[in-house]
Subunit: 380 residues, 3 copies
Amino acid sequence: MSTNRVDLSQLELFDHHCHGVVARDLDRAEFEELISESSRPATAGTTRFDSQVGFGIRRHCAPLLDLEPFAEPDAYLARRRELGFDEVNRRLMRATGIGTYGIESGHAPGTITEVAETAEVAAAAVHEIVRLERLAEEVATRMHAAGEPASGFAEAIRAEIDTRLESAIGVKSIAAYRCGLDFDPTRPSPVELQDAVETWFAGFDGSWPRLANPAIIRMLLWHAIDRCAAIQLHIGYGDDDVDLHRCNPLLLTRLLRASVDSGARFMLLHCYPFHREAGYLADVFPHVYFDVGLAINYTGSRSEAVIAESLELAPFGKILFSTDAFGAAELYTLGTLLFRRGLSAALDRFIELDDWPVAEASRVADLIGHRNARRAYRLD
Amino acid sequence: MSTNRVDLSQLELFDHHCHGVVARDLDRAEFEELISESSRPATAGTTRFDSQVGFGIRRHCAPLLDLEPFAEPDAYLARRRELGFDEVNRRLMRATGIGTYGIESGHAPGTITEVAETAEVAAAAVHEIVRLERLAEEVATRMHAAGEPASGFAEAIRAEIDTRLESAIGVKSIAAYRCGLDFDPTRPSPVELQDAVETWFAGFDGSWPRLANPAIIRMLLWHAIDRCAAIQLHIGYGDDDVDLHRCNPLLLTRLLRASVDSGARFMLLHCYPFHREAGYLADVFPHVYFDVGLAINYTGSRSEAVIAESLELAPFGKILFSTDAFGAAELYTLGTLLFRRGLSAALDRFIELDDWPVAEASRVADLIGHRNARRAYRLD
Amino acid sequence: MSTNRVDLSQLELFDHHCHGVVARDLDRAEFEELISESSRPATAGTTRFDSQVGFGIRRHCAPLLDLEPFAEPDAYLARRRELGFDEVNRRLMRATGIGTYGIESGHAPGTITEVAETAEVAAAAVHEIVRLERLAEEVATRMHAAGEPASGFAEAIRAEIDTRLESAIGVKSIAAYRCGLDFDPTRPSPVELQDAVETWFAGFDGSWPRLANPAIIRMLLWHAIDRCAAIQLHIGYGDDDVDLHRCNPLLLTRLLRASVDSGARFMLLHCYPFHREAGYLADVFPHVYFDVGLAINYTGSRSEAVIAESLELAPFGKILFSTDAFGAAELYTLGTLLFRRGLSAALDRFIELDDWPVAEASRVADLIGHRNARRAYRLD
């Protein structure tokens, strides 16, 4: 049988969407917070370790910290602190075999390692992805502090995006969280945009100015489209401040139709439980790509089913790999291991069922593992 | 291999949502009506037995009535009548190994056994779940018959809920059927509520006063929230008077967000085909639980796939077991047998794939089978 | 084991929804266009052959053209041209074992074989399905050319439908593409209808008058309902001019409820990724049938999962078979082969899991393969 299976243990990986890791030791409550998308502690009488991701960490990460598989959570965390965060992060990230990272730098900066630091920990190549909403908030904050008028914001943020795109390989939008994906897909008119910016600026009160106005977010997206950028979009499953029924990627249909000839590319992230819908969009729109990152970690022993479902309508040249790891380096280890395993299982099944030549199956794995990302981000 | 599998044949079960059984003999048309969610007879030229649930009954229930597996439907029903409903109900319910029932008493009362009677047939412990809409209709009918004004309704139904919650372990709402889940999640204002009650009362014509007004239903839900009750909600698949696209549990997101610190708990029932969405809600909201009851019976030989899909995002401490059996005792037998089997299959797969310790897999089964329900309904 | 499996290699098939094939030789770009639902060429750097359907063609169709499995695309297309379209179409269609075709004749007529011609190529019985929107466009064009007033349109199209239904076995609507399935399910009033027709006619400019007005489409559907017709509806996945989130079959709930006693039957086509929702509708509404055609071809090595998911809620007497092949005869070959294989796999699993008698499993296959269609289209 061994000759009729793919071996993806050495598959080159380009993790096109992920984040830094926490660079300090963690207590149990802090660690549990990092292994769930909920903003709330686990229900009384339960623990976040009693979940697919929790079991996955105990099974697959404990041995990397010299523990037996399925070490108890307290023992795991004690050993984690004993080794120290730096050693743990290095071990866990370097076990992944990821060659290239696309690090999204705008989520909770300050609490996790920065891009260059993450590269050093991981001992790998990194590229930056710029979060549009965060960047806009930074620019607005700076302008407001300097007493600059709202009327200059649109030009300022556009210039800032252009500057950042000189080094960053793409942008990311969390429109899903901020206004849902059912927004008007057209460019905002100058008047609509200016009204929105004025209102936003007028509300500044010293706290962080959370950008949720759809007109401003649409302007950011359309500017990225005009720049032929690679645009990552949060889709589907995420934190509890998302209205998941407004995160169905099909809600983007008109925006995708309007931008199909623009030169921009859209990377739909995570997508669970709408990954079949994402596969459809990746099929019919030449500028749409997608992954099932995040869901792989959080569905754990069930992730092979999710990965298999991602291999239906989408052309093999349009599927990407990501971990969406954030904070806990375990999410890199586990997301990579489960991806290699789930993709192997799916391809082996296709080999068994339809006699796919192993070389063809391996070629498909190469596409999904790294080649599609290189092409889509124009790094070739 | 046998030492690397869970044995759930004796798993203790708490069926947290089910109903009484019919206490008379049934002809074929009556029986077929009980084994489908449709309010209509089977299409001409077809039979309800030609379905997953029909095949499941012939396979698994026929032997309990001393027939060969896959007895023909007519032979099955003849034997059922020969033994008599009482013997049949006892055999089928007692074969389940369910230790505790949470019986929802407000669906078609009068046609099925009452709570105490069901307990006797099943030889098990029972708790009552009160259907809010039914209770409201009863109170309104009583008030109207007594010539009491609509202005007293809100206080009367609140008092009645409180009284019933002295013995019942929770309430159930069928808002999904009556107004869809896309209702305004806020408390109704006193004026809005009073208007709604006046209109409802004014329409009384002697027939049963079906409650469908969202303002009144919202009041019932918010009163249950204020009482820190366990609140069962019909979600997803059901009778043909449901608009299934308005039964997606994600439509409850704002209500769940608004009630997260209330002390109330929400049990999302059935959920098919939105069980992955329900798993997400159970992950991010500490007061949300869910089951895939009903769907297990009706997907039969495919139920292991549905059960496996319910074990993705949701923490293991938030998944419940129910049969949603109604009328036909076969639905208890089959719902239990398929649940034990599907959960075993999923856990055995996790053991095989990720070396889950059998003790850990059994602990997860215990949580889902009964411990989560005990904790969530505060029976510990 | 062989005695405990179904053998569907000779299963009689009624392909109740499909189209003609292209009767000329094809270059690679033309062929790639036929093996995707996208209206766009493949993304630069990729090929439509790198997909489930592409791999399926290389695996299963190449040998029918005397090539090795997994011949390279260029070699495949060279051989295809060498044999010539006529020989290729005959080989591929006759390899399917389809006994009866229901050919929808209104999609891109002129580019593919007509009904009678397809019958000759396939050497099988054919029935016609009339596309309502196309027929309406033809009638309107004719009337407009003849200078006839818009006021006569409703009567003219109704008469035309009646005439066509003397020989055709059903109608098809692409309301999903033209106005989405979230249309008002009531009959249009005469005034509303007449206004819509006047507006439509007034816009005629010599180009093909694309019908997208919901009032006119509703009239067409209601006329078909009044005629007790078999009505095929495009559901779910399709070309990129569909808004897929408006193609969920649940959006038809009110129309289905309103027509349940009409004598009309609804055949929900394709349905992916909403096939579980379609299964629910087929369960609760006696006049609803569905298939997962189209998706079978395009999910290829994953199609057995989709087929298995179609065998959940729906009664076995309500599931149909189709290929939805269009243009490329490969889609007939592949759609049939994958259907036989996926249905076998599902039934064999049920035999293994629940001891389904092989005769019962074969009976279910017969229902799905052809008997349900014969009954539903009233050909018995």
